[in-house]
C-alpha cells in the first residue's frame, strides 16, 4: 500500500481504498460523537432515575440507607403494603377523576377559546398572548393565589354573595374540595390547550370552509365535518400528553389542600410524596411512584401508537 501511495506521486495522501474506509469510519465516529451526549443525557437523567425508582420500590429504603448504603431487598412487600391501604384506592379514584374531568373540560373550553381567537375582533391579536400568562406561572404560585381566592372570605365568595348565590369554604368542605382542585387544574392548563389548538386551527384549509359555507353547511356542520377531522391528530396527542401530565399532579394539591380535608383530595402522587418526604419511607414512596408509572405507561403506549399511525397516514 505504501508502494501504491508512492506511485501516485501524491506524497502523504492515503490510498483511495483506505480513504473510503476511513471516511466511513469517520462518519460512524461523527455519528457516535453526536449521539453520545444524547445517550449519556438519556441514561443519566431518564434511565438512571427510573431504574433507581424501581430499585427503591423493591427495598426497605429509609433515611438510614443514606448513611449505611444498606437497603434490604423486600421484593413486592412495598406494593402489597400500599395496595392493602384503603387510602390507595381513594387516591386512585381521585387521581383518575381529576385527570379525566379536567382533560375533558380543557378540551372543550380550549377548543372554544381557540375558535374564538381564530376570529378577528378588537384585541384578537394580543389576547391569546395574555391568556398564556397562567400557564407561565409555577403551580405553587397558582395554588397559593387560588387558595386565597377560594377562601371563605375570599373574592369568589364575595362575588357569589353579591349575586345572591350560596357561598362556602370551598377547600374546607370534603364535597367541594375535589371539584375546586379540578377548577384550578383546568385554569392552569387551559392556556396551553387554547394555544396549541389555535395553532392547529390555522392548518384548516380556508377554501374548504368557504366552499362548505357556500354549499350551505352551518357552523356546527363545518366544525364536525371539516375542522375537527383536520385537527384531530393534534387533539389526540394533546389529550394523551395532558392525561399523563395530570396523572402526576402533586404540587397543586399539596398547596391547596395537602390532600385534605379528610383525604378528599388525596392523589397517588401526593401519597408518594407523603411516604417519601414526610414519613421517610422511600420504599413505599417508590411503590406509589411505580403504580403511577404503570398507569402513565399505558397512556404513553396509546400516544406512541397514535403517533406511529399518524406518521403512516402522512
Amino acid at each position: 500500500m505504501t508502494a501504491h501511495t508512492i506511485s501516485t506521486g501524491r506524497s502523504g495522501a492515503p490510498a483511495p481504498g483506505r480513504f473510503r474506509r476511513s471516511l466511513a469510519a469517520r462518519r460512524r465516529g461523527e455519528l457516535w460523537g453526536f449521539l453520545t451526549p444524547a445517550l449519556v443525557f438519556f441514561v443519566v437523567f431518564f434511565l438512571f432515575p427510573l431504574g433507581y425508582g424501581v430499585y427503591m420500590s423493591t427495598t426497605n429504603f429509609t433515611t438510614g440507607t443514606f448513611i449505611t448504603g444498606r437497603a434490604p431487598f423486600v421484593g413486592t412487600t412495598n406494593f402489597a403494603a400500599v395496595l392493602a391501604e384503603p387510602i390507595t384506592f381513594r387516591a386512585l379514584a381521585n387521581t383518575l377523576t381529576i385527570t379525566l374531568v379536567s382533560v375533558a373540560v380543557e378540551l372543550v373550553l380550549g377548543l372554544l377559546l381557540a375558535l374564538l381567537f381564530a376570529r378577528t375582533f378588537p384585541g384578537s391579536r394580543w389576547l391569546p398572548t395574555l391568556i398564556l400568562l397562567p400557564w407561565l406561572l409555577p403551580a405553587v404560585v397558582v395554588a397559593t393565589v387560588w387558595k386565597s381566592l377560594l377562601a371563605g372570605d375570599g373574592p369568589i365568595n364575595d362575588v357569589l354573595g353579591a349575586l345572591g348565590l350560596p357561598v362556602q369554604a370551598w377547600l374546607a368542605n370534603p364535597a367541594t374540595a375535589l371539584p375546586s382542585v379540578i377548577v384550578v387544574a383546568v385554569w392552569a392548563s387551559l392556556p396551553y390547550w387554547a394555544t396549541i389548538l389555535g395553532a392547529a386551527l390555522k392548518q384548516v384549509p380556508a377554501e374548504q370552509l368557504e366552499a362548505a359555507q357556500l354549499d350551505g353547511a352551518g357552523a356546527w356542520r363545518r366544525l364536525t365535518a371539516i375542522v375537527l377531522p383536520t385537527i384531530w391528530p393534534v387533539v389526540s396527542v394533546l389529550v394523551v400528553m395532558s392525561v399523563v401530565y395530570t396523572l402526576l399532579i402533586v404540587d397543586l394539591v399539596l398547596v391547596l389542600t395537602a390532600g385534605g380535608p379528610a383525604n378528599s383530595t388525596v392523589t397517588l402522587g401526593l401519597l408518594s410524596y407523603r411516604q417519601a418526604f414526610q414519613q421517610f419511607q422511600f420504599g413505599l414512596g417508590g411503590a406509589y411512584g411505580m403504580l403511577l408509572l404503570g398507569i402513565s405507561v399505558v397512556f404513553a403506549i396509546v400516544y406512541t401508537v397514535m403517533s406511529m399511525r399518524r406518521e403512516r397516514e402522512e
Binding site: 374546607a172 399539596l254 390532600g259 380535608p261 379528610a262 414519613q279
Partner: protein, 412 residues
C-alpha cells in the same frame, strides 16, 4: 421572629423519626480522655448555629466570642442556613463536624448521638444541675448527656384582651375542655371566631399544637385510639360544632396565627416566640392549656435546643469545646436569649427571671416540669402525625365521631 421559629420547626419536625433509622448506624466515635480545663490557649474551635434570625444570631456570636476570650480560645461562630439536619449528617459522615453545634433535641441530637460522633459531656465539668428533669432529659440519649439544653419550647393559649372586653368575658383561664368550648363560643361574633388552630397536614403544625390537648386529656401520643386522643379530637369537633373554630382551619397550617393577629380570632395556640413579638397590634395575654376533666394538671410537649460537642481525638480540643458550652449556657446568657429571642430558658433560675421580665411567659415555664419529650416516639411519630391530622379533619368537617375518625385514621 415567629416566622423564623416556625420555619425551623417545619424543617425539624417532619424529620423526628429519622432517629430510630439512624440508630442502626451507630458506630464508635473517638473518645478523648478528659484533660484539665486549664491551658486552652491557642485552641481554635468552630461553632455552628442554625437559628438565623436577629437578634438571636448576633447574641450567640457575642456569647461564644466572650466565653472564648475568657478561656483563651479562638472561636469561629458560623450560622448555617438551609437544611441543617442534612448538613450535620453530611459533616458527621465526612468526619468534619464542628467542635460545637446547636442541636434540636427531637431529631438532630439523637441522630448524631446514635452514630457515636458526640462527646459524653458528663466526663467534663458540664452538668444539668438547675434544669428540670424534663429539660435535662432532652440532652440525653440512652442515658448519656450528649447535649446541654440551653433553651426549650413549649406552647400555651394566647388571647386578645380587647376581644374579651368586647364580649364582656373575664380574662380567666378555662379549666376544662368544656370551659374552653364555652369561652370560645362567647367570644365568637359575626366577624371574629373564638379560636383558631392549625388543621392542615404536611407542615407539622397541626400535630404539634394538638399534642398539648391530647396530653392534657391524659392521653398517650403513641395510642391514637386511646381515651385522651378521643377527648382531644372531640374538643376540636365541639369547637367547630359551636362555630367558634372556622371549618377552614383544615386548610391552615403555621400561618393560622395570622387569623389571630389580624383580629379574626380571639384566641390561638402558639409558641414562646410570640412572647417577644412586638408586631402584634393589640394587648394580649396567655393561658395554660385546659384539661379534659377539672382538677387535673395540663401537660405539654417539649422541644429543646442543646449544644453538643463533637467527639474528638484531640482531648484538649474536646475539653475546650465542653468548657465553651458550659460558659455559653450561663444563666445570664439564657435570660438574655429568652428576653430578646423568645425562647424559654432551660435553667429554672433563668426561667424565674424570664417570668419576672415577661409575666406572660408563666404558663410556658409552669408547664416545663413534667413535660413530654416527643423524641421518645421515634419514627412512629411520622406516621402518627398524619393519622392525627386525618382524624381531626374527618371528625370536624367529615362528620365522623372522634372515636370513629381516630379508628379509621389509624387503621384500628
Amino acid at each position: 421572629m415567629a416566622s423564623s421559629s416556625q420555619r425551623l420547626r417545619r424543617l425539624a419536625l417532619p424529620a423526628v423519626g429519622l432517629t430510630a433509622a439512624l440508630a442502626l448506624t451507630a458506630c464508635a466515635g473517638g473518645q478523648a480522655a478528659p484533660v484539665s480545663s486549664d491551658g486552652f490557649q491557642g485552641v481554635q474551635l468552630t461553632v455552628w448555629n442554625n437559628i438565623d434570625f436577629e437578634p438571636y444570631q448576633s447574641l450567640q456570636k457575642g456569647y461564644f466570642e466572650s466565653c472564648a476570650a475568657d478561656l483563651g480560645i479562638t472561636v469561629d461562630v458560623q450560622t448555617q442556613s438551609g437544611d441543617y439536619t442534612t448538613k450535620l449528617l453530611q459533616a458527621a459522615g465526612a468526619k468534619a463536624l464542628p467542635d460545637v453545634a446547636i442541636l434540636s433535641t427531637d431529631t438532630q441530637l439523637p441522630q448524631l448521638a446514635s452514630q457515636g460522633v458526640l462527646a459524653d459531656l458528663s466526663q467534663y465539668d458540664v452538668t444539668t444541675d438547675g434544669l428540670a428533669d424534663s429539660a435535662a432529659d432532652l440532652g440525653r440519649y440512652d442515658g448519656t448527656l450528649y447535649g446541654l439544653p440551653v433553651q426549650v419550647e413549649d406552647y400555651a393559649i394566647f388571647y386578645n384582651k380587647a376581644a374579651f372586653a368586647a364580649a364582656g368575658v373575664p380574662e380567666t383561664a378555662p379549666k376544662t375542655f368544656d370551659d374552653l368550648v364555652s369561652l370560645a363560643g362567647s367570644l365568637t361574633t359575626g366577624s371574629q371566631k373564638g379560636i383558631v388552630l392549625p388543621g392542615i397536614g404536611g407542615d407539622g403544625s397541626t400535630p404539634v399544637y394538638f399534642l398539648p390537648f391530647l396530653l392534657s386529656a391524659g392521653g398517650d401520643p403513641a395510642d391514637p385510639t386511646g381515651a385522651g386522643a378521643v377527648e382531644a379530637v372531640d374538643l376540636y369537633k365541639n369547637l367547630v360544632g359551636n362555630g367558634s373554630l372556622s371549618t377552614e382551619f383544615v386548610n391552615w397550617g403555621w400561618e393560622s396565627i395570622d387569623q389571630w393577629t389580624s383580629g379574626a380570632a380571639a384566641m390561638t395556640v402558639s409558641g414562646p416566640w410570640n412572647l417577644v413579638d412586638t408586631s402584634i397590634p393589640f394587648e394580649w395575654g396567655t393561658f395554660p392549656f385546659p384539661t379534659a376533666k377539672s382538677g387535673e394538671s395540663p401537660k405539654v410537649n417539649l422541644l429543646g435546643y442543646a449544644y453538643g460537642v463533637a467527639a474528638n481525638a484531640d482531648a484538649q480540643k474536646e475539653a475546650a469545646a465542653a468548657a465553651l458550652v458550659k460558659c455559653r449556657a450561663s444563666e445570664e446568657n439564657q435570660i438574655d436569649t429568652a428576653v430578646q429571642g423568645g425562647y424559654i430558658p432551660a435553667l429554672k433560675s433563668a426561667q424565674d427571671a424570664f417570668v419576672e421580665k415577661v409575666p406572660a411567659a408563666a404558663p410556658f415555664v409552669d408547664a416545663v416540669d413534667g413535660a413530654y419529650n416527643s423524641a421518645q416516639l421515634g419514627t412512629e411519630w411520622n406516621t402518627l402525625q398524619q393519622e392525627y391530622v386525618d382524624a381531626i379533619q374527618s371528625a370536624t368537617v367529615g362528620g365522623q365521631t372522634a372515636q370513629a375518625a381516630l379508628e379509621q385514621a389509624s387503621g384500628k
